[in-house]
């Protein structure tokens, strides 16, 4: 595995999959903090609020790792695209600011 080429793809894929996971609630698992229970995939509230953040992280880790492995042979002899690894996460962060604007505009 060529880390020089794979790590920028991983950073970009992680950020994109993460924002999609948040927006469409693709949590790999859910934690119910009030009753201390875990459940597979995104589950509705039981007693108290559910927590999806851990599940979103797991989804992103799994998705970005898979995508990086798939991309590994595809990038071939192309030079490492380092810009992908910082520009995409930066755009994702700015998109989060836009998505959460209602918190600050009420």
């Amino acid at each position: 595995m060529n880390m020089e080429k794979v790590f920028p793809i991983f950073a970009a894929a992680f950020a994109v999959i993460y924002i999609l996971a948040v927006e469409f609630n693709w949590a790999l698992f859910t934690y119910h903090p009030k009753i201390g229970e875990w459940g597979w995939l995104a589950q509705p509230a039981r007693t108290g609020p559910p927590m999806y953040w851990y599940g979103w992280l797991a989804t992103s880790l799994l998705g970005a790792s898979s995508l990086s492995l798939i991309a590994c042979p595809l990038v071939g002899r192309r030079p490492a695209q380092y810009w992908l690894g910082w520009l995409v996460p930066l755009v994702v962060m700015l998109t989060f600011c836009y998505l959460f604007r209602d918190f600050f505009l009420r």
Binding site: F7, F14, K34, Y54, A80, G85, W86, L90, F100
Partner: protein, 154 residues
Amino acid sequence: MATFLVILHGLLAVVLLGGITHQAMSIALPSRNKSGIFRSFRAVSGTVYTNANIALFLAVTILGSIIYPTYRIAVRTYLENARLYGATGSFELKEQFVAVGLGMLPLYWLLWRRPPEDGGKPARIAVTLILCFIVWYGFLVGHVLNNIRGLFGL
């Protein structure tokens, strides 16, 4: 227990803040001259901070994720009842930024491991500055929320 973990989380965040800020300054505004405190601050060798910063980022995130349920049940409910939507939103952004930062750590490690002459210097600067911003933002939001009742007389 949660109070102990919050304090530990905060203390490790302070160390991380120092390390990542030193490194970010050393690459964004480098200085070879060590005369004076500001120049000395920028004249450090940024490479030596990398592994420590990664370990601290992971440690602070793991501690944060352990105390997160306490925040979700007690603190966030309080903030919502008090109609402090800006505070709630700030924390929401913090958790998303930290997650994005986690995904950048392997690249950050790689960029600081290889010589900057190999063409990765702009990316090294960008990744370090983004992580530095995430750490500062997370620290300030966490600090304000932890003390929100005292700070705003609630």
